[in-house]
């Protein structure tokens, strides 16, 4: 004991299985999570391409696709049930299995011990268990496409009665049951991960690593993990209740008098609104579970490329806390027109718009961090700067939706689709991609190709705006989301043709990610060898050998003497001063 972190070191396992498959090393687990997330993103992205194909050209026939999806696209025409399964699974896979796993579990696991000077997570076995709990969740989710009736089709929000009554929609059969089981496993895994993150951040920091010397990414992980621990269990409970309603004859979410398939169902006494409350009690904090670490990465990617400290570290930390607290009490803004008591709607509108204040402070600090910089537009910097623009655009769109009055017209339209894609789709996507370009040399000891990276950024950035900024305006026109086609309504006639343009832009966006995939694997084997600290960065992970060995630090763990943003300290030998440099060598300026 004696407070020495080195008690955690033990010999690196030598067998292939213990080293790469059932590993307890946070770096291996982090990369496992990352690769799993990327695999799920490929599936989720392919689903998005099919969705856009349908919406762009609803009257075309695609005989080739009929061969791949004999049931969903029989005769080359997409089946409306299949369309609903596509949107449901696209949302579920992207939110929970791509962004949550890639950003929080992937980068979080890999970087957390390295950035706080620990040898591993606090509970390495729990860490391994959390990964191996999410693998069956992924398998179950993917398998649900192949069961009778197809995958779940009630939207990623799984509102009952659609998700509770088998007769309501074909995907509400076995597909929906598998969806619930997959989510339950996912939540169990994510809860283990969250416990591990909080414990590790609070207890495993190396000597000198005070809380106010943590990189902002670690702060965001801490707050996101606490939010996840508070918000996910109610959804687990709700999912189990939904399972009971589906298979046990209970009526938690089902009222009396439901009329399906020419008969009245025997349920009575439940309320569909109860599910909505429980779902969004998770669902809204979940948005912040995703967006906060993405902002953390954006904030941490700036200083190495501006060669100066971040602006407003303290206020950013306070703002992150304010967002965390407020995010727990605003779930009802998803329910303004749900039939919830309108008095409550007022409370949720005022609370929601209060979040804009700390959010704007963070956005302001991001932009202000550029002031006076020696800006170097390397690939990770492009992604960080791009995510500032996305955060601004998405955040400002949220002002329309958090306002109950304007939400009446915009609720459940493409304005909402555009808005949340900027936030939990865009800011997070750019953070994951930028983080990959930035930490790839740490993870694999090689650099990714810079030219391909820049082309990838520009295609992604511009195509993303073309798709999702446009969708905001379709929402003003009243275009409802989750429509299989827009041909049945005259009021949509003036705007529906824009969907072809959006689809083309979406295909560019999708194709650009293949460029990234190629760059990733090409660089893995052929990329230039990375120096130990290729970006000349001051955070702790770059002090470790590249790639870091088991136990991260060799004989002794590093001691920290300063905050992580000491760039361009006057009088210092280099324009960056790693956190380990003692004040006797370079003065501590903050």
């Amino acid at each position: 004991m004696a407070g020495k972190p080195s008690v955690h070191t033990h010999a690196e396992p030598t067998s292939f299985w213990r080293r790469y498959i059932f590993s307890t090393d946070h770096k291996v687990i982090g990369i496992q999570y990352y690769l799993t997330a990327m695999g799920m993103a490929l599936v989720g992205g392919a689903l998005a391409m099919l969705i856009r194909l349908q919406l762009g050209w609803p009257d075309e026939k695609w005989p080739l696709l009929a061969k791949i999806f004999p049931r969903g696209m029989s005769g080359g025409v997409m089946n409306p049930d299949f369309y609903l399964a596509l949107i449901t699974m696209h949302g579920t896979l992207m939110i929970f299995f791509f962004v949550s796993l890639g950003l929080v579990s992937g980068f979080g696991n890999y970087l957390l011990p390295l950035q706080i000077g620990a040898r591993d997570m606090a509970f390495p076995f729990l860490n391994m268990l959390s990964y191996w709990t999410v693998v069956p969740a992924c398998v179950i989710m993917l398998a649900s496409f192949f069961v009778e009736g197809g995958a779940a089709a009630s939207g990623w929000t799984a509102y009952p009665p659609l998700s509770a009554v088998e007769q309501a929609v074909p995907g509400s059969g076995l597909g929906q049951t598998l969806w619930i089981l997959g989510m339950a496993l996912f939540i169990a895994s994510f809860t283990m991960g969250g416990l591990n993150f909080v414990t590790t951040i609070l207890n495993e920091r190396t000597r000198g690593m005070s809380m106010m010397r943590l990189p902002l990414f670690i702060w965001t992980l801490l707050i996101a993990s606490i939010l996840g621990l508070l918000a996910f269990p109610p959804l687990t409970a709700a999912a189990i209740l939904l399972l009971f309603d589906r298979h046990g004859g209970t009526s938690f979410f089902l009222p009396s008098g439901l009329y399906f398939g020419e008969r009245v169902l025997p349920h009575s006494g439940g309320s569909p609104l109860l599910w909505q409350h429980l779902f969004w009690f998770l669902g809204h904090p979940e948005v912040y579970v995703l967006i906060l670490p993405a902002l953390g990465i954006a904030l941490d990617l700036l200083p190495p490329f501006t060669r100066k400290p971040i602006f407003g570290y303290r206020l950013t930390v306070y703002s992150l806390f304010a967002i965390g607290v407020l995010s727990m009490i605003v779930w009802g803004h998803h329910m303004f027109v749900s039939g919830m008591n309108p008095y409550v709607g007022e409370f949720f509108a005022i609370g929601t718009l209060a979040i804009t204040i700390p959010s704007a402070i963070i956005g302001f600090n991001l932009i202000a961090s550029l002031w006076g910089a020696r800006l170097q537009l390397r690939t990770p910097a492009l992604f960080a700067l791009g995510s500032i623009a996305f955060f601004g655009t998405g955040g400002l769109g949220g002002v329309f939706l958090g306002n109950a009055t304007s939400d009446i017209q915009l609720h459940d339209t493409y304005f909402v689709v555009g808005h949340f894609h900027f936030m939990i789709g865009g800011v997070t996507l750019l953070a994951i991609l930028g983080g990959t370009y930035y930490w790839f040399p740490k993870m694999f000891g090689r650099m990714m190709n810079e030219r391909l990276g820049k082309i990838h950024f520009w295609l992604t950035f511009i195509a993303f705006y073309a798709v999702f900024l446009t969708q905001h305006f379709l929402g003003f026109g009243g275009m409802p989301r989750r429509y299989y086609a827009f041909s049945k309504f005259e009021f949509l006639a003036p705007i529906r043709d824009m969907n072809a343009f959006i689809s083309v832009a979406a295909f560019v966006l999708g194709a650009a990610q293949l460029l990234f995939l190629f760059n990733f694997f090409w660089s893995l084997f052929r990329g230039a060898r990375a120096e130990q600290n290729p970006w000349r960065a001051a955070t702790l992970e770059w002090v470790a050998p590249t790639p870091p060995p088991h136990g991260n630090w060799g004989e002794t763990v590093p001691e920290v003497h300063r905050w992580p943003y000491d760039y361009s300290v006057p009088g210092a030998p280099e324009d960056f001063t790693p956190q380990t440099v003692p004040p006797t060598v370079v003065e501590v300026t903050r």
Partner: protein, 277 residues
């Protein structure tokens, strides 16, 4: 020589980034000034439109300002060879953060408190005026059932157990109030200039009663009866759309709303036969 090339490349890239961001701002203005909202046909909709237009102007200005400033900073600071500003004092950080804080408090909170919630309260916290025309709308997969109370002004009792092909709402004919009820499928007639009191119900899943031209959207929830009201200001034929996912036919759950002059509406109503299964 080589360094000069590097520098030129960096300046070009910074310029390009700024150009893209400013182009996005310009495209945003171009899209923002176009008329997207469906033509307005209701009284309270004017208030909702005022809220949306206020946000389009204020939030739109912040969108443009944000993109231009970010673009300018990227352009300007990608030209620098050394940093010109390093660390703000704790006091300076706090003072600067007042700017985004106050701006959002005014634009977002101020907007909802001053413009938004009064409109919200007027239409959600007050019951329909006494002279309102009562219409019951019952949603089902994938159609809108419309029922008028008839001369007695009272809707008859319904019971899901009585639902049949001939009696899609399950109206209980033993209830005297039901004898003059008028039932329509898919087409809703209302008079112009009179408040319309809609009692919204659902037989099966969630639906949402969306009148894009009237700025009306309200979920229909099985097990609940939700009362809303609005006042049409234009005559003509409009559409009812479903805005809450309700199954594979969600995208074609279309209804028609015919707004007639008052006398014409009354003539139409009296000409309708009462419901009889």
């Amino acid at each position: 020589m080589h360094e000069g090339n590097e520098r030129r490349k960096r300046i070009l890239e910074g310029f390009f980034f700024a150009f893209v961001l400013i182009t996005i701002a310009v495209v945003g203005i171009g899209l923002g000034v176009r008329r997207w909202l469906p033509p307005l046909a209701s009284e309270h909709g004017a208030g909702i439109d005022r809220m949306i237009h206020y946000l389009l102007i204020t939030v739109g200005a912040l969108f443009i300002l944000g993109h231009v400033v970010l673009g300018y900073f990227i352009w300007r600071f990608s030209r620098q060879e050394r940093i010109t500003y390093r660390l703000a004092s704790a006091r300076a950080e706090k003072l600067w953060s007042l700017i985004p804080g106050i701006v959002m408090a005014l634009v977002a909170e101020g907007g909802v408190l001053v413009i938004g919630l009064p409109i919200w309260q007027k239409y959600y916290l007050h019951p329909a005026p006494p002279d309102a025309v009562l219409v019951e709308v019952t949603a089902e997969q994938f159609a809108w059932n419309i029922r008028y109370p008839g001369a007695d002004g009272r809707l008859g009792r319904t019971d899901p157990q009585l639902i049949s092909y001939e009696n899609p709402l399950g109206i209980d004919v033993r209830d005297p109030a039901s004898r003059d009820d008028i039932v329509q499928l898919g087409v809703m007639y209302v008079p112009v200039g009179r408040p319309i009191h809609v009692r919204l119900r659902s037989k099966d899943t969630l639906h949402s009663f969306f009148l894009p031209h009237f700025r009306v959207k309200q979920d229909a929830v099985p097990g609940m009866t939700i009362d809303i009201w609005f006042t049409p200001t234009q005559t003509g034929e409009f559409e009812i759309a479903c805005a809450e996912l309700c199954g594979f036919g969600h995208f074609q759950m279309r209804g028609v709303l015919r707004v007639l002059p008052l006398e014409e509406f009354e003539r139409w109503l009296t000409a309708q036969p009462a419901f009889s299964p």
